[in-house]
């Protein structure tokens, strides 16, 4: 685990690539998160809504970006976490999740580090992008 003194702008955060996402995973995420929108679990509903089948919960993708964000510090270190959902994620998609440090600075005696995050499909299309800001507690 790096310290705030070793972060450098431009450094990439350790990323990962998911297994192909599955409807079964979306269903487990629905239960765990309480989001029971059938758009994410019922192919007929996804079809009727014009998505050609189910699409993943955006928050599942943000949750995966959170695994990358965690490299900047454990619980209590995150100050902000922002995500934009750019394209639907479908069963079978594999997401490459990663990030890069964009700023390291000190403010009011505390050191902050910011990173951009991304989740990109196997087709090269970005599914989500994010920003995370972390600071150790004083």
């Amino acid at each position: 685990m790096p310290t705030f003194n070793t972060y450098r702008v431009g450094d990439e955060l350790p990323g990962f690539e998911t297994e192909p996402l599955t409807l079964e995973w979306f269903s487990r995420y629905a239960i765990a998160s309480g989001d029971h929108n059938p758009l994410h679990t019922d192919p007929a509903v996804g079809q009727a809504a014009g998505h050609g089948g189910v699409i993943a919960h955006g928050m599942l993708v943000m949750g995966l970006l959170g695994r990358v964000a965690a490299y900047l510090g454990g619980p209590g270190a995150l100050r902000e976490f922002r995500t934009r959902f750019q394209a639907p994620t479908r069963p079978g998609d594999r997401l490459r999740c990663g990030g890069r440090i964009t700023a390291v600075y000190e403010r009011e005696g505390r050191r902050f580090v910011e990173a951009e995050l991304w989740a990109i499909g196997q087709d090269g299309v970005a599914r989500a992008s994010g920003v995370v800001v972390a600071s150790l507690l004083p």
């Binding site: 959170g66 100050r79 959902f85």
Partner: protein, 150 residues
């Protein structure tokens, strides 16, 4: 679409309890590797009084998991199947730990009409300032959702 007259309107307040079982299940579903989300001893060893909330746990208390709030939006002309999550922002002000209770009143912070390739839509911003049982601001949750016309 939601009548712009509803800008500023708030719902609830809603109160939720942060539960260990929910933290464990949520962390497991996202395959979060940190032991502190599963094991109280690991949390204590990290200087925490109990299991901490993963970064996106607050979604379990937000719009998508709140059937009462979804019903309010539907009554205003924005039913669930016409909503698409556009952005999610969290600002963390104080730690959230298992056993905490959070209270928040989601408010319509912005309503913007836009023109898309497939016709007009509306962008709704819901902001929730979650306070804990000590009255401290814990999380600001800003959820941006696209409301399709049809």
């Amino acid at each position: 679409m939601i009548d712009p007259a509803h800008l500023g309107r708030s719902f609830g307040p809603y109160t939720v309890t942060v539960e260990r079982a929910q933290i464990r299940r949520f962390a497991e579903t996202l395959a979060l590797p940190e032991r502190v989300y599963y094991d109280e001893a690991a949390a204590r060893a990290a200087g925490l009084p109990d299991l901490p909330a993963p970064p996106t746990l607050a979604t379990c208390y937000g719009l998508w998991a709140n059937s009462a709030l979804l019903a309010e939006l539907e009554a205003l002309g924005a039913p669930l199947l016409r909503l698409l999550h556009g952005e999610q922002n969290y600002v963390y002000h104080a730690p959230v730990i298992a056993g905490d209770t959070l209270t928040g009143a989601p408010a319509i912070a912005a309503l913007v009409r836009k023109e898309g390739r497939r016709g007009p839509f509306q962008v709704l911003t819901l902001e929730t300032r979650w306070r804990n049982q000590r009255g401290e601001l814990a999380i600001t949750d800003t959820l941006v959702v696209v409301v399709l016309d049809t």
